[in-house]
Amino acid sequence: MTELVDPEDPAAGLAAVVALRRLADRLEDSQVERAMRAGWSWSDVAEVLGVTRQAVHKKHARRLVAAGVALRRR
């Protein structure tokens, strides 16, 4: 197995950190939306993400309402 990032190039390694955060943000936004469209509850989404229901609600509820997703109450 080769090394994950080139040890001689911290600039590339740090840029990879930013790229991974962007990827995680994009995946979170798209997959929470997909789950809620499929009728998941906030509690179920929160449990999978390992955060509180309030946290996931605060972060995504307004966006999903604007996107026209029919949200379950709990």
Partner: protein, 160 residues
């Protein structure tokens, strides 16, 4: 459309951040906002270097793909699942934007009645070899230092 700092930053760059799903307005969003103002000298300078709005988006995606590849992740950005943006979100100014504004203010000539116009903001964006914008330029094969020199010359000649 007026091309002052307020309208570029607060309206166009924030639109870009929102569309990108970003929590903050970063330098790449300001760059896209500048490129969209095709009536400005700054947008013309970018276009002459091949950096139209579409080309900048492609370059930023290529940078993203390359940096993910560094971490062993092979993805095509165009194939990533999309998320609906939040139309009501008002992303605040991020760290890379604070830095570019500071660099723009510090660029000669001393900032005066002309204020913080598009060319000065472009100089601020081009004034670093770090971050996603500089890496995207490299990915696109654009000579950032040469482009910066042209923007600095235009600014010194009185272009806003």
């Amino acid at each position: 459309m007026p091309s002052d700092v307020r309208s570029i930053l607060v309206r166009s760059a924030r639109d870009e951040a929102r569309r990108d799903g970003s929590r903050t307005i970063e330098a790449e969003h300001v760059l896209l906002a500048l490129a969209r103002r095709d009536e400005t000298a700054a947008a013309r300078l970018l276009a002459e270097a091949g950096l139209t709005e579409g080309a900048i988006r492609d370059a930023l995606n290529r940078e993203w793909e390359q940096s993910l590849a560094t971490a062993g992740i092979a993805v095509r950005i165009g194939l990533l699942p999309e998320a609906t943006p939040d139309p009501d979100r008002h992303p605040p100014i991020g760290e890379s934007t604070k830095l570019l504004l500071k660099r723009a203010m510090d660029a000669p000539p001393k900032i005066g009645g002309g204020g913080l116009g598009p060319m000065r903001m472009l100089v601020g964006i081009l004034d670093t070899e770090r971050g996603r914008v500089a890496r995207a330029f490299t990915a696109a094969g654009v000579d950032r230092a040469a482009l910066r020199a042209r923007a600095v010359t235009a600014l010194a000649a009185g272009t806003r």
